[in-house]
Amino acid sequence: DVKVTQSSRYLVKRTGEKVFLECVQDMDHENMFWYRQDPGLGLRLIYFSYDVKMKEKGDIPEGYSVSREKKERFSLILESASTNQTSMYLCASSWIVAGQTNTGELFFGEGSRLTVL
């Protein structure tokens, strides 16, 4: 089974702190994603990475950055946490679809619930 592991299920941070959310997948997926989940808003894409050191902004990248130094690991960084970044953060991974026959489904981690006080 595909396993996507997020380092922390629950975090509480103070405004202005630097926050790291880590995600590791074990299926050699090329793609990795960070989504933010808020009630009534569904899942919104923050950043997407299709290869090591490659990244692409999603719909809501402001206030976030990412790092992908190894294929299996994708980190989300909040340089200076703010209260409006209190949310559930979901990491996902998938195989690349270009030239392939897979349907591009995402495999998700369990989520990291971040509270910024």
């Binding site: 569904g42 919104r44 979901l90 369990e110």
Partner: protein
Amino acid sequence: AQTVTQSQPEMSVQEAETVTLSCTYDTSESDYYLFWYKQPPSRQMILVIRQEAYKQQNATENRFSVNFQKAAKSFSLKISDSQLGDAAMYFCAYRSGDTDKLIFGTGTRLQVFP
């Protein structure tokens, strides 16, 4: 830009009954994929069912089936013989054939009553 709309924030069903969750999408593409994901309380999101747009036949997975109406851009999920374990948030998602990214709807919370 493509959008996915789930107009039912909450639904409820009696155990063993059937429930249908609605999803509509907006796209001008002809090559795309549609998905239903389930997110149980405090557990990870898992894929329930997928549909390729080029396939006319509706996808089924055991008690889960879809009603894919391509012209109407509708992709509803039918859960038959509902079980308590079906209680979860359900998200509809769309992927264009030329991208790896999925676009999600806002979700429908399904409650199952004994």
